[in-house]
Symmetry: C2
Subunit: 414 residues, 2 copies
Amino acid sequence: MAFSEFRTLDETTLLDYIISVPSLSSKLDHNLEDIKIKEVGDGNLNLVFIVIGSRGSFVIKQALPYVRSIGEAWPMTKERAYYEAAALKTHGRICPDHVPQVYHFDQTMSLIGMRYLEPPHIILRKGLVAGFEYPLLADDMSDYMSKTLFYTSLLYHSTTEHKRGVAEFCGNVELCRLTEQVVFSDPYKVSEYNRWTSPYLDADAEALREDKALKVEVAELKSKFCERAQALIHGDLHTSSVMVTRESTQVIDLEFAFYGPMGFDVGAFLGNLILAFFAQDGYADRDAYKEWILRTIQNTWELFHKKFVALWEQHKDGEGEAYVAAIYDNSEVQRLVQKRFMQDLFHDTLGFGAAKMIRRIVGVAHVEDFESIADAEKRAGCERRALELAKLLLKEKKRFRDIAQVVSAIQQIQ
Amino acid sequence: MAFSEFRTLDETTLLDYIISVPSLSSKLDHNLEDIKIKEVGDGNLNLVFIVIGSRGSFVIKQALPYVRSIGEAWPMTKERAYYEAAALKTHGRICPDHVPQVYHFDQTMSLIGMRYLEPPHIILRKGLVAGFEYPLLADDMSDYMSKTLFYTSLLYHSTTEHKRGVAEFCGNVELCRLTEQVVFSDPYKVSEYNRWTSPYLDADAEALREDKALKVEVAELKSKFCERAQALIHGDLHTSSVMVTRESTQVIDLEFAFYGPMGFDVGAFLGNLILAFFAQDGYADRDAYKEWILRTIQNTWELFHKKFVALWEQHKDGEGEAYVAAIYDNSEVQRLVQKRFMQDLFHDTLGFGAAKMIRRIVGVAHVEDFESIADAEKRAGCERRALELAKLLLKEKKRFRDIAQVVSAIQQIQ
């Protein structure tokens, strides 16, 4: 019997829990004698236990009712586990190769049991800091993003199905509000949780708070984030939400999922790759690796574009209600609407990607890419160049016509 | 005791119903001897009964499970009555001067009891056909639109409150789909319900189905309609959804309400005024009246703009989460974001207004403004000029910087 009310698990009580849940104990082939349980959560929000037995393994993720990295002073609904499980299942059905399987969900305990991503899987961000190349990364991530975003949009759904999903995920509002605060608000005002590499970036952080043109662009992005239910997005698709080996790419941590703008996911991923690029100058001898990151940025967008349009072509006579086949009825008008759609999505991607970069440099949550550069002055230099690019993308996004121009802009700034 | 299951009322069974519902019979001071009941519904969707006694009166609106004007071949959920009652109550709280009071709602019977808008109230469209001037119309409609749109948006709401409303009105999806079909799809393809003043407009209707640039713009508008939950909009704010006297302006028929783009409401109203303008040449001697319509178009937008921005200023330090006061913290940046917001809303208004015009000329539901012109050739001439303007607005909306330029374009075409 599972627990009748919520309690925060530890390595001992989790064992009792597993014994009481057949869908979990069966994963260990009911052999609980030699299992090893280890708490490894290093994110901001949750407990994560790895459970390994001689005949099976899984991960237990439990949501706590506050932001773990801040403490109980920042409460955060544990109901997010429901939305994470729902999104994992939906994205998993759409893209099983890149989403870990869910074995068990317990709403009372705010707990998900799911596939353990065995070694040598590591967090992509750690791989980027270490300088590892992942030859499948662009292909796999463009696969995940094109499929999950296409198949949960009105390009594939009827309005009826779409609004049912939108209504369900409206309930994940606390996590949306967290994003609104830390991505679209705090970096542009004085906030107790903000920090940056001081004193080097003091003037840069102040400049953000004084930049009127930037604030106009950020307001428009925030409106899109809050109002535009375009697809069931991951909602937090940075490079620590991806686990990788050279042969495998797995997307995790979907608790921020809701129906939002597609560009928020694509932008989060590309923006964090750009942060990784600018951080490389803080490490030794990374010229070749920097080239690999730039190629990965370019390939990810170009493959995403190609795959997304291919899915559109494949399903253009299907149930999707955005573009009725009888109206968009020849290849020329089809090409025109696809061009407009993809161009808008590209500009959304640049805007959201830039906003995600900025918040990682002057906001509450920083990234290991820069944090691992011990020399503060050197780190500040890397961060300042990333900030410069982000401001350019945010203010001038409509001047960029393709990803190659973005890569050129990155090269010019470094 | 009210009826235990849905039944379509007639003038006889309605009397039994009223007797069983205290909130209705009390409106007649329980004097049911001399009441008069008359079915007057002339819209597309519902039964409407006027109930008048010697000591009180009300209107009963009952939703039928199909589109009344088409018949049972076009089913339509009667659950729309729930959303209409909910929207009437919300808009009524926000703007009681221009929304009739709800006395009673019965979900089982899909029935709303509400204020009877006594003579000389008439449907605005009939007044426009008759050539009556309404000196308060621009002021009152700008009042209704600015208040209902502002107070149900993220300019006033927290995200939490907003998403609760969005989720609730996602349930009104069948009515949204009806709009998607008749406004954004049918006019641009061959559809059994389409009609137009044939043979005069045959080529014009065909040209719409071949206009690739127009189809790209319509697709973008449709996406906004389906995806952008900006405010609790009326959803069908044409000139037959407004009842007027010289002293009173009352907005009715809110069954299409949902969280959608603000410009859809403002555009519907202005677009239908523009249709009224172009129809005037089908009647005798209306030069002065045409000037009044143009002034009303201009005044409505300008007053709406002024009042909306004033509400924003008034509440800029409130609970609304779109523009956090600590970021938009001085009059210059406040002016910049307001300018961007209102410009985008203006362009949305022109696009949606144009789409609403087009569908009234070549789609399923036509307007009395044109239908009352008996001479088909003359009618077609009026309709063609309206179509020409609508196409211009749809394709070139971003070239228009203010409503005066729109009025000039209208004058040039006529």
